[in-house]
């Protein structure tokens, strides 16, 4: 009899546990946001203008402000978690964040793991060098004997590998700051990054110039888990909404196309 009771207790608690887990699995990301009143985003520790700590010690930037605007309109609290680039996608896939608000390129391979929103903004990949280097266009760099720097394992490095294939590519771990430092200390002849990121360095580093011509243009989007369909459509819908009412352009103008943000945050 005792054995039977034990068995029954085990069976009931097992079934209850199974129900609990299926219940939590069945809840969509959007339902979780509605239930808890909190939207958690993963942003990248990288520097202006997408996501950075400003002079007041507050995390801000284009991606952070867009997510904040959406959270405000939804009436939920925004929780910002910042990760190194390597930690962004694992944080999303393990459920630590609801979506990634970073300037990620939606490549075909990456889309096999996560789902990207429609492009939120576009970046222009450019080359930069010191003023006295004598280079005028990025095409001048495609010569043997020239060394070009870019962030390790970044889309910029891929672009440099493909389009400036004759030059030697040096990939620096970290971010564009490392590439800029390598350039100013004479370790490389030129660097590859995006226009907005370099604009942030131009005011603080004398003699830094952007070479003529865009090497490539890339769409950048936010990313969600493959099963977060409701949230994906909500994000796309919201970007459509603020594109129409002009608020997206306003933010892009402030953060991305100009360096107006520098006056308030630097």
């Amino acid at each position: 009899m005792k054995k039977f009771t034990k068995l029954a207790v085990a069976a009931v608690s097992g079934a209850w546990l199974a129900m609990m887990t299926t219940a939590s699995f069945a809840e969509s990301t959007m339902e979780k946001i509605v239930r808890t009143g909190e939207m958690t985003i993963a942003v990248q520790t990288q520097g202006p203008p997408v996501s950075f700590i400003n002079k007041d010690g507050k995390r801000t930037g284009l991606a952070v402000e867009l997510a904040q605007m959406m959270a405000d309109d939804m009436g939920v609290k925004l929780v910002v978690q910042d990760y190194d680039w390597k930690g962004l996608i694992p944080s999303l896939l393990s459920g630590k964040a609801d979506f990634i608000a970073a300037d990620m390129t939606p490549t075909a391979k990456r889309s096999m793991q996560v789902v990207f929103t429609e492009p939120v903004f576009y970046s222009e990949t450019i080359a930069f060098a010191m003023k006295d280097s004598g280079y005028t266009s990025w095409k001048d760099l495609n010569v043997a004997g020239i060394s070009v720097g870019a962030t390790q394992a970044s889309s910029w490095a891929d672009i440099a590998r493909a389009k400036i294939s004759n030059a030697e590519l040096k990939e620096f771990a970290g971010g564009t700051a490392q590439t800029v430092q390598a350039l100013t200390s004479g370790r490389i002849n030129a660097g590859v990054s995006d226009k907005a990121t370099i604009a942030g360095f131009m005011s603080s580093i004398e003699g830094l110039v952007v070479l003529d011509g865009d090497i490539s243009r890339e769409p950048l989007g936010f990313a969600v888990r493959p099963d977060s369909t409701h949230l994906l459509f909500a994000l796309d819908n919201y970007m459509g909404l603020i594109r129409a009412d002009g608020r997206l352009d306003e933010k892009l103008e402030y953060w991305w196309n100009t360096t107006n943000w520098e006056a308030d945050h630097k």
Binding site: K86, R110, Q113, G149, A153, F172, Q181, S185, G186
Partner: protein, 230 residues
Amino acid sequence: MEWLQSIFNFRIVFQYWEVFAQGIVNTILISAICLALSLMFGILIALARRSSNPLIWRPVAVYIQAIRSTPLLIQIYLIYYGLPSILPFGNFLDETQTGIIALTIHTSPYMGEIIRAGLESVDRGQIEGALSVGMTPRQTTTNVVLPQAIANVVPPLLGQTAVLIKDTSLLSIIAVFELMGAGLRMFSETVIATESYVTTAVCYLAIYFMMLGISGVVQRKLGGSAWQAN
């Protein structure tokens, strides 16, 4: 095999085998050169540290403490970015060479301290015996003391070498491509974290086991059966 593929995607890992092979080769090459150099300098440091002349042992002690108390990351930075601004020909060395120098400067004091412990573990009787059969102090050191000292400290040296191998991954901040860079490249392109990082870890493990085998041979050569009997 289907279920295994869904847990760990070998198909995608296999697409990157060339990248990983290049990473492994670079990591082994850099580690091996650094190991040889730092053992050599380590022996010199250990001998200098044991010197009774304060003009020799004091500067060496300062060097050991300075290196042990500062992070390797900063040492690499200082050597890579600092060297060209101090020396006009600082840019003469490329990234890999600079990295090897930085790692050697960093690892030698650790090796030195381990070897010093080994030197101190050699029985006085061995030295007295060697001297009494007519060996010069130099012969005593190179033929009697050092082989026994190193054989005694092979296990801690092995540990320090494992640290050295893993430290090579820090060289990616000065654009040296090694095993960690291979893993990061795969991760950046495919964004599958488990496969990228586990593959990298398994490669480090393989290098470690290879080193374990080599050190066993070295230990037997140096120690012989007499050492084993101890």
